[in-house]
């Protein structure tokens, strides 16, 4: 039987990396990008036509979160209930903190939705270095479809049914990674202390996300803890770069430029903190990261707040 095809929407580094990973699997791979084809990727069919992309029943979406709704709305014109739509977008949308899969549910007829997460980075994935990824979906046929398309001896996929949890975990790990970059750049932090910060940050994130309907255990798995641990060593992770630059005294705009990729977490930190307060959950780590972004407090006070609240 002919293997099904897989589509990737988004021509940025993450989209390209997903497409490259897909070419190592059994499916024919399509990549939709509005940009000119500026990279040569073997075995990937480029398209600028959403209708053509929709010929694939499994579609991975890799666009910045601020474009999620627009893209879903346009793509939704070409989809039906047989499609499987999985995103790798780190973010929560609007003041209501909607997950991206909620946006997809509102804008498309697709019911079989999923998300990707975990510590895998675009460059590792593109290069085919051994790495691990989490795929979450409430429908078991979604995780199975992604596994069949992407899993290889170099990419290990972990499955969870807690879609909401993984989406929240990915978004919050983005926020917390700014703090990791910041603290590391301050120089005087021992590995033990850094580990204490990470543990504390994951606890806090889990409590907030549980209030939003996530499962706690997702935060202590690869999509939460694992993803945040990776930030210790991922010196070029955009959120880590941002935190480091801010610690070195850069203004937010400069730091943002040096991070190169869009950092979703900048706008997200205050929204999540506001949500936590509305649910009576205390969030000292997130508040301290908010101060990093505002540069509204002296550095010593911020570091103290990160560790002690």
């Amino acid at each position: 039987m002919k293997p099904p095809s897989i589509g990737v929407l988004g021509g940025g580094p993450w989209g390209l990396a997903l497409a490259q990973a897909a070419t190592r699997g059994p499916c024919t791979t399509y990549l939709y990008s509005r940009r000119q084809q500026d990279a040569e990727v073997p075995s990937v069919h480029w398209t600028r036509d959403l209708a053509e992309l929709a010929q694939c029943r499994l579609i991975l979406v890799a666009v910045p979160s601020n474009l999620a709704r627009t893209v879903a709305r346009e793509l939704g014109e070409h989809l039906d209930g047989s499609h499987v739509l999985v995103h790798g977008i780190r973010g929560l949308i609007g003041p209501e903190l909607n997950t991206v899969s909620q946006i997809f549910r509102e804008e498309t007829p697709v019911r079989r939705l999923g998300a990707l997460g975990g510590p895998v980075q675009a460059d590792e994935l593109a290069a085919g270095n051994p790495s691990a990824m989490v795929v979450a979906a409430e429908f078991p046929d979604v995780t199975a479809a992604v596994r069949d398309a992407l899993q290889s001896d170099r990419l290990q996929l972990h499955m969870t049914r807690d879609l909401r949890g993984l989406e929240w975990a990915s978004a919050l790990v983005g926020c917390l990674s700014i703090g990791i970059g910041y603290v590391q750049a301050r120089g005087s932090v021992s590995p033990g202390l850094l580990a204490a910060l990470i543990s504390r940050a994951v606890d806090e994130a889990a409590t907030i996300a549980v209030a939003a309907g996530a499962e706690e255990k997702t935060f202590y798995g690869l999509g939460g803890y694992g993803d945040l641990l990776a930030s210790m060593a991922l010196t070029d992770r955009p959120e880590v770069v941002l935190g480091r630059e801010l610690a070195r005294g850069a203004k937010l705009e400069e730091a943002r430029l040096r991070a190169r990729l869009r950092v979703e977490a900048i706008d997200l930190v205050p929204r999540v903190a506001a949500f936590a307060r509305s649910r009576g959950v205390s969030c000292p780590v997130l508040d301290a990261i908010g101060k990093i972004l505002e540069s509204s407090s002296d550095a010593e006070a911020i570091v103290r707040a990160l560790f002690r609240g």
């Binding site: 039987m1 099904p4 029943r57 499994l58 939704g76 039906d80 209930g81 047989s82 499987v84 549910r105 509102e106 804008e107 498309t108 007829p109 019911r111 079989r112 409430e138 429908f139 078991p140 046929d141 479809a145």
Partner: protein, 545 residues
């Protein structure tokens, strides 16, 4: 009864329905040894606790079977399985017992003539649904919702009505509602214990009920029920399920559903697609709203009592006592709009809304090919139980949402919420059980009317957002009039007064019943939620009548 009613149709098709059910269950059962062992284990356990002569004989048969099972050949086990499944399927489909029927017809006239006394009654007795169409009942049961759309859908596919469940009167009331709305009658599963009650049994047989024996808890029996339900749906029998599984003990609108049977909606749809003859299934959420509930006293007592958790089937409540049913029905006849049945937007088995032509709609209101939801990544229609279980969970979410939005608020609910709020103010910080101990609290009529109005106005705001519906005589009525409506509804039916008017104020006599009636508004955030308080009455067991 019209000749097209399912009971006639049914008697003609009964053998085929049962045979198809048996074939399906036997084909699905991978290990007859396991299935029979499991059934024997549960049945032995159940029957050991019984002292009835019949049960003892049955016990001996099960024990004998247990002993033989391991020595039997596979073919012998298959044949044993077929026999057992045949018994269950036959029992579920029910016997249209003429003796029961005659008994019922002897009792009914005295009941109904006593209430209505129109001269034409005797000749209508052989046509109970005609009888029920009498205007006398029609203005007691108010119908709401887009029944024209439902009538159209009844021709395009199989309707599955999924109403809220508050009372044993529900199946009867809902049967009237279907008849009055020009909708076809629906077949439904009713607790076998209800068939022992001659009054209810009469209606059940005539409204197309099949029997569910809730004492049988093992998988093989459940498989028989599901298969039977699925066969009915595939053959286009419009059906009725109460997804709450049991009457709401607290009085609250259901927030958690049991969808074992509703899951057969997808199964029957997929199987129609695979046969190349698509037959759509439409779920119709509905709320049945009572000004007063027949069994309110028993239900709330059961909800509150620790012992109640173990009472799986209530066999001795108001609905089994003729005098109480009579008192209730008599009360019903004195009140206009005492029952409101409201139909919500129909849904496909995947929880998508459906338009008048039977098309599934997405969240943006665009038509989507219904079959696409059961196609795999290769585009083939597939049976995938785990996928379909998730769709059914999402359908449940949509139903719970529909129940909340289609709850019709009556005077008794608003007044009870106001009274209960007053009680809680009298004992700040007290837990639920301490509030319930506050007996005979007095409140001035003006103060109570003010509390009532406050709640009603909040409900009106919710109604504007489509989050709830107010009964006609609640929407624009003064606080004092709402209070009067509720008092008149409460008086004369419940065994003790719920609230009582005295010259210098209103006395709150029965906090438990006030809790029961105010619980209807929990899901709207406008009544005290006992489940959210520190001392929970504990999780409720499902099942029951």
């Amino acid at each position: 009864m019209p000749r097209s009613a399912p009971i006639f149709h049914f008697n003609h098709e009964r053998a085929a329905l049962v045979a198809q059910t048996i074939d399906r269950v036997c084909a699905q059962t991978r290990s007859p040894l396991h299935a029979l062992n499991d059934a024997a284990y549960w049945e032995t356990r159940r029957l050991e606790a019984s002292r009835k002569k019949g049960d003892q004989d049955e016990l001996a048969e099960w024990r004998a079977l247990s002993r033989k099972l391991s020595r039997m050949t596979d073919a012998e086990r298959r044949s044993q399985l077929k026999e057992l499944v045949g018994n269950y399927a036959g029992d579920i489909a029910g016997n249209f017992d003429p003796r029961v029927y005659r008994l019922s017809t002897r009792i009914l006239p005295s009941l109904v003539t006593g209430l209505l006394a129109p001269g034409s009654l005797p000749k209508k007795l052989r046509h109970p649904l005609e009888l029920l169409k009498l205007d006398a009942i029609a203005d007691k049961v108010v119908l709401q919702g887009d029944t024209a759309r439902l009538q159209k859908l009844a021709d395009k596919g199989t309707l599955v009505f999924v109403p809220t469940h508050a009372s044993n009167m529900d199946s009867i009331v809902f049967g009237f509602a279907l008849e009055l709305s020009g909708l076809p009658p629906a077949t439904y599963g009713a607790g076998k214990n209800l068939f022992t009650n001659p009054i209810l049994s009469f209606f059940m047989h005539n409204l197309g009920a099949y029997k569910v024996d809730r004492r049988l808890r093992f998988d093989l029996y459940k498989d028989c029920l599901k298969a039977y339900s699925c066969v009915l749906l595939e053959r286009g029998y419009h059906s009725l399920f109460f997804p709450g599984g049991t009457r709401s003990r607290s009085g609250a609108v259901e927030a958690k559903l049991k969808l074992g049977l509703a899951g057969t909606g997808i199964e029957s749809y997929v199987s129609s697609l695979r046969r190349g003859a698509e037959r759509k299934v439409f779920f119709v959420p509905a709320t049945i709203n009572y000004l007063i509930t027949l069994e309110a006293e028993t239900l709330i007592a059961d909800y509150l009592s620790e012992a109640g958790k173990a009472r799986y089937i209530i066999e001795d409540d108001e609905s089994s006592r003729l005098s109480r049913v009579l008192a209730f029905v008599r009360k019903l006849f004195t009140m206009r709009g005492a029952v409101v049945v409201r139909f919500g937007t129909p849904l496909d088995p995947f929880g998508n809304p459906v338009d008048g032509d039977g098309n599934s709609l997405d969240a943006r209101g665009r038509v989507v090919d219904t079959s696409s939801f059961v196609r795999d990544v290769r585009g083939e229609v597939s049976f995938e139980p785990e996928r379909d279980a998730q769709y059914t969970r999402e359908l449940a979410t949509a139903l719970v949402d529909a129940y909340r939005k289609n709850t019709v608020v009556m005077a008794t609910h608003v007044v009870a919420a106001a009274c209960f709020e007053h009680l809680r103010q009298q004992a700040p910080g007290a837990d639920l059980f301490n509030v319930l101990r506050l007996r005979d609290q007095k409140i001035s009529r003006d103060e109570l009317a003010r509390l009532v109005l406050e709640r009603r106005d909040a409900l009106r705001e919710l109604e504007k957002r489509g989050e709830v519906v107010l009964a006609e005589d609640v929407r624009d009525t003064s606080g004092g009039d709402l209070l009067a409506q509720a008092m008149s509804a409460f008086s004369g039916y419940h065994s003790a007064p719920v609230i009582e008017a005295q010259p210098d104020g209103i006395v709150l006599r029965d906090p438990k019943l006030l809790l029961y009636y105010q619980n209807r508004l929990i899901r709207h955030g406008l009544a005290f939620d006992p489940e959210a308080s520190t001392q929970k009455p504990g999780p409720r067991r499902g099942g029951g009548a």
